[in-house]
């Protein structure tokens, strides 16, 4: 006895294929939506910044005069901030990842730390700002300097590096470890000589992404009280500093006093986006280059 009626199936086929086609277009449009917004957003910012980005703008110090004002301070501040965030998150992130993946594997402790890291990733950045303000700026009496901001940001982006490093370490095939152990290598020798070199691209990708997150964050630094202002160019981690998004924030705020500040803010956004694109491209390049290696 036949239950499946071929004619019936045939009749329905047209509708089903049509539904599939329509859905495909809908899904595609959804994907486009985000991209269209991206284009509008960038177009608006770029249009507003036209005529304001030049060498002076990049190399000058801050000034109350919009014609003379430049963002060298914010650029240097951003670089100094990275100089703190990069090594600190790298050491903490990779160290934590190795511990979790290679030493504490499947233990209770691992579960606990892992949960903790996932939670930390979800803690709002303003709350990190409060931590930084209370612990680094006040309790450790660092003030609103690069080190305080950098340590705060390092903790903020730590989960990104930990998770990326864990993934990279996990992606190192077990057979490479076995091969190393099989030669009589100790655990640390195996990690140092085999696991870390092999997972380095993944780790670097994570670090770059973490850095680009750090230099785009405004809220925690505003909470810590990072001055965006008339200060000497920073030349060390104990100097006061500002970074690009904070500069954007204050310039926009002050545009009620001096209308041209809004254009400066747009110009700063463009520079910031260029930096972020560059960093993301590097991350993507690394990822693509080393993706299929084993």
């Amino acid at each position: 006895m036949k239950y499946v009626d071929a004619a019936q199936v045939q009749k329905k086929m047209g509708t089903r294929l049509l539904a599939n086609k329509l859905a495909k277009n809908l899904f595609f449009l959804s994907t486009l939506f985000g991209l269209i917004v991206l284009v509008i957003l960038i177009y608006r910012v770029v249009a507003q910044s036209i005529g304001w980005i030049d060498a002076d703008f990049i190399f000058n110090k801050l000034s109350t005069d919009p014609e003379k004002a430049g963002i060298m301070g914010a650029i240097l501040g951003t670089l100094w901030l990275m100089a703190v965030v990069a090594p600190v998150t790298m050491v903490l992130g990779v160290g934590t990842a190795i511990y979790l993946e290679e030493y504490a594997k499947k233990s209770r402790l691992q579960g606990f730390i892992q949960t903790n890291i996932s939670n930390l990733a979800g803690v709002p950045s303003v709350v990190f700002g409060i931590l930084g303000l209370t612990v680094f700026a006040r309790a450790l009496d660092l003030g609103s300097v690069v080190l305080a901001g950098g340590l705060t940001m390092a903790l903020l982006v730590l989960p990104v590096v930990v998770v990326a490093s864990q993934e990279a370490i996990r992606a190192v095939p077990q057979y490479l470890r076995e091969a190393s152990y099989g030669m009589g290598a100790t655990k640390w020798q195996t990690i140092k000589n085999i696991v870390l070199p092999a997972s380095l691209p993944g780790i670097l990708t994570g670090v770059i992404l973490a850095l680009s997150r750090a230099i785009g964050e405004t809220a925690p630094l505003v909470v810590i009280g990072i001055p965006a202002l008339l200060i000497p160019l920073p030349d060390g981690v104990l100097d006061k500093f500002t970074i690009l998004p904070v500069q954007v924030y204050y310039w926009t705020t002050d545009s009620a006093l001096v209308a041209e500040y809004a254009n400066l803010a747009a110009a700063t956004i463009v520079i910031l986006l260029i930096v972020l694109f560059a960093m993301n491209s590097v991350a993507i390049l690394i990822r693509n280059k080393f993706q299929k290696r084993f």
Partner: protein, 298 residues
């Protein structure tokens, strides 16, 4: 070397100073102080580095009231008792310097052709009324029958505190007033809304005269236009005038000649810079008295 004599504007023959002056505090005072600092570094003492930041009045006091804290704290309000107590505990003498005057200015849309002037009471009523209940026609019958939209800076700002404490006499603003963190937003909002009325410091109006109109206020003796001349402590706009300050750490002034020099420079140039940055200048005798007091610190 010998600390410079506060000769004022043209002290060319002064000894060269170096070192730094660190200033933090109110965002309201920031434009004034930033301009001042820039002028000082270009025209007066190239060797001195003046840092101006804007953590906010209170956050600024937190940096001021610590050992080796900031040299100056800008404030859009007077120092509070809690802060005085803290200062005493630390042995910090906070020397109050009134640097300029700010006039609370009420602004309306360019297309608003009815509310050229309002009485003080009308303004208070407008801002205390529950939204949706108040229409322009409720204020005066010849005004249009349109709802009033009220805007203002949020509790974060000294301006709000001044409005709330001094003008509304601590009667709570209705919840539905639209408060903003940024002045630029306020300007933008009023410039786009025919029925809007907002308040902020005179400087923000002065910079945006092309976008919004100011309301002349009648304090009982006829409408007064808010402008640099009327926003004096004894001027016609006085009820809506408030001083803005910077607090000097006396200990620092004694220790670091450049700090005192900068303080004196600030006072001597305050009138000019105030006008440039949207504040009203202090009367001459106030400037003089403050400068004298500062000279006494040497």
């Amino acid at each position: 070397g010998e600390p410079a004599k506060g000769e004022g504007k043209g002290g060319n023959e002064k000894a060269e100073l170096e070192g730094s002056v660190v200033i933090d505090g109110s965002g309201t005072v920031y434009p004034f102080m930033a301009k001042m600092a820039e002028n000082y570094m270009t025209n007066e003492q190239e060797g001195v580095s003046v840092e101006v930041s804007r953590a906010g009045t209170s956050a600024g006091f937190k940096k001021f009231l610590v050992k080796d804290g900031t040299d100056f704290n800008n404030a859009s309000r007077e120092i509070k008792d809690e802060e005085k107590t803290e200062a005493e505990k630390l042995g910090i003498e906070a020397h109050e310097m009134k640097v300029a005057l700010d006039g609370l200015t009420f602004v309306v849309n360019k297309d608003n052709d009815w509310a050229d002037d309002l009485t003080q009471q009308e303004i208070v009523d407008i801002f205390l009324a529950e939204k949706d209940k108040k229409k322009w026609s409720d204020v005066r019958s010849d005004f249009p029958d349109e709802p009033i939209k009220t805007y203002g800076p949020n509790e974060n700002h000294g301006t709000y505190e001044f409005m709330f404490e001094k003008i509304l006499e601590e009667k709570a603003l209705p919840e539905k007033i639209n408060l903003q963190q940024d002045y630029s937003t306020l300007v933008d909002l009023v410039s786009k809304d025919k029925n809007a009325i907002a308040f902020f410091g005179y400087g923000y109006y002065a910079s945006n005269k092309d976008k919004v109109n100011a309301v002349n206020v009648d304090f009982g003796k006829g409408p007064v236009e808010p402008k640099v001349e009327t926003i004096a402590e004894d001027g016609d706009y006085a009820p809506f005038t408030r001083p803005v300050f910077t607090y000097l750490n006396k200990g620092m002034a004694k220790e670091k000649p450049q700090v005192l020099d900068y303080a004196i420079y600030t006072m001597n140039n305050s009138q000019e810079v105030a006008k440039e940055t949207g504040f009203a200048p202090l009367p001459d005798e106030d400037v003089k008295a403050t400068v004298e007091a500062l000279e006494g610190l040497k």
